[in-house]
């Protein structure tokens, strides 16, 4: 069962088609929803939560239909909206407790989980302050806390790092990584920032102008690009290249001691240093390809047709 299943999903708002025939299945543990502003990311999230009716097609979340089972979906989902969304004259702990009770927790358990969630996101010290007095970063964190308090199976984060300074952003990313690592909660993270998605997700759905531009498994992309290495070396590289070829690498050497190679999975970067030492050459610089998501995104943005491109290695 996929986390998100879309079948020719079409959503129209105010007479305008915002999502046009989305089809695809997402199975990743942390799914990134990527696209430029206005691509339809938030509309897709709102449709999954049952806020918008699909004009055609269907969407499923955790195997439940977004139209027919919206209450069951909301029971299983924690949602952190993009914009400010809270009750300003409530204290942090009261707000999170309120949201947990709405999610079905009995009052005592809701209070306990509210305290825990606030400590977990780092708002423990300010939990008795009114939310209206919080900074922007704190407001983002309290939205995350209320989304977590009832222990959802799927946590939907809409632009979680919006408006955060670098430190707060790093903290938010670290929290998301922690949640992912714990393994109990799947994540759907919407962002227009490649870096956020790259750091936190293992699968990505790229939207452009209301259509799916690409669905890709970032982990696989990362693995393949991890094996592509560029070297700058000092000394004669011929023997080194021959040796690497004999070990199963695809190699190409260039002027100035530059060598590009694709290593088989059995080899590790350490083997490069060992081979270089054996052949009397120095490795001055080594570069692993790490911009896989950017490649995927740029390829997807070039795409203008109606066909879904499953970006492959």
């Amino acid at each position: 069962m996929g986390v998100i299943e879309l079948d020719r999903l079409e959503v129209r708002l105010g007479g305008r088609t915002v999502l046009a025939g989305l089809t695809g299945e997402l199975r990743g543990h942390a799914i990134g929803l990527l696209g430029p502003n206005g691509a339809g990311k938030s509309t897709l999230i709102n449709t999954l939560l049952g806020f918008h009716e699909a004009a055609a097609g269907s969407a499923k979340v955790l195997g439940m239909d977004a139209r027919a089972d919206r209450m069951r979906i909301r029971q299983s989902v924690g949602y952190m909206p993009e914009n400010d969304s809270f009750i300003g004259n409530m204290t942090g702990v009261r707000f999170v407790r309120y949201m947990a009770e709405l999610a079905g927790l009995p009052p005592a358990q809701a209070l306990e989980r509210a305290h825990e969630a606030l400590f977990y996101v780092g708002l423990g010290e300010v939990r008795y302050r009114k939310i209206s007095t919080y900074s922007l970063g704190m407001k983002q964190l309290i939205k995350l806390a209320q989304g977590l308090a009832h222990g959802p199976k799927l946590l939907i984060l809409d632009e979680p790092t919006n408006g955060l300074d670098p430190n707060a952003r790093q903290r938010m990313i670290q929290l998301i990584k922690d949640i992912r690592k714990q393994g109990g909660t799947q994540l759907l993270i919407s962002s227009h920032l490649l870096r956020d998605i790259d750091e936190t997700c293992d699968e990505v759905l790229i939207l452009n102008k209301g259509r799916i531009a690409a669905i890709s498994n970032i982990e696989e992309e990362r693995r393949s690009h991890l094996n592509f290495i560029e070297l700058e070396m000092a000394g004669s590289t011929e023997a080194f290249v021959e040796k690497m070829r004999s070990l199963g690498c695809e190699c190409a050497s260039f002027a100035g001691g530059r060598v590009k190679l694709v290593m088989p999975d059995a080899l590790s970067p350490r083997d490069l240093y060992v081979t270089a030492a054996e052949n009397g050459v120095q490795i001055r610089r080594i570069q692993l390809r790490r911009d896989s998501l950017e490649d995927i995104f740029l390829r997807a943005m070039d795409y203008e047709g109606g066909r879904v491109e499953h970006v492959s290695v």
């Binding site: 708002l13 909206p81 009750i87 999610a103 927790l105 009995p106 989980r113 009832h150």
Partner: protein, 290 residues
Amino acid sequence: MSVFDHDYRPYEGRLTSLSSRPLVLARYAMNEAWSSKISVGLFVLGLLPCLVNLVIIYVADNPIARALIMRGSPSFSIGETFFLQVLETQCWFALVLAAWIAPRLVSFDLSDNALPILLSHPISRFSYLLGKFIALAVFLSYVTWIPCLTLFIYQCYASPVPWGMSHLRIALGLFAGAAAWILLLSMVGLAVSSWVKWRVIATGAMFAVVFVPAGVGGIASAVLRTKWGLLLNMPVVMTELWQRLLNAPSFMNSRMDLPTPAIVSVLIVACMLCVAVLNARIRAREVVRG
């Protein structure tokens, strides 16, 4: 999760039933309503007329007290007209309370854009409104039918002659009249508060919604020489309804009496308008046209 470990764990305990979730909203809304000192002040003020009426009933039913206090003045009886005045007084206090409290229940949610988060939980828009409605209705009950029926029960107890069973119609009328007013006030209060995000303006708008159409209706009646303009006059419409429910004598010229079906229709139309406003305003997302 644990406060000490600072790590995350899923919740595996029991969950409350879906049908009980509006009561969570109602409970938090009640707390919000009572959290204001002005609410408490208005509530106490709303009960003062009841104390005065309690003394009046005591004096009317106690010959010694009547002789001491009235000193030969013509005696008065406790009946439909007396309870109609009690109900009218309490219901207009209820309007003041609703104008103050209703915006507190809804405007905070709207001004901070809390609806997307609230409605992302397993509650529908109807449940959300039901929760707020329950809170408002309970609060207004404290100053309307509960004190009115308390006075009725006291009159049954204090009357020197058997009184209660022969005047049961008054008790039913008090409850039904107050319930109709609470329903209307709650609907109008929620609709106005959902439309006007600024609380002070919403409070003013509540009075405007009741009294501006009354003025327009009065002008229409005078210019067109018809009684139908009175249908826009909510105080007149409600007073006529209460009179009929309590079987009290009419205070209006018989030519100006409004037929009961017309009164009921006006109340239904007013409630339908409120439902339409709430349907348009209580959404997790605003629909962008274009």
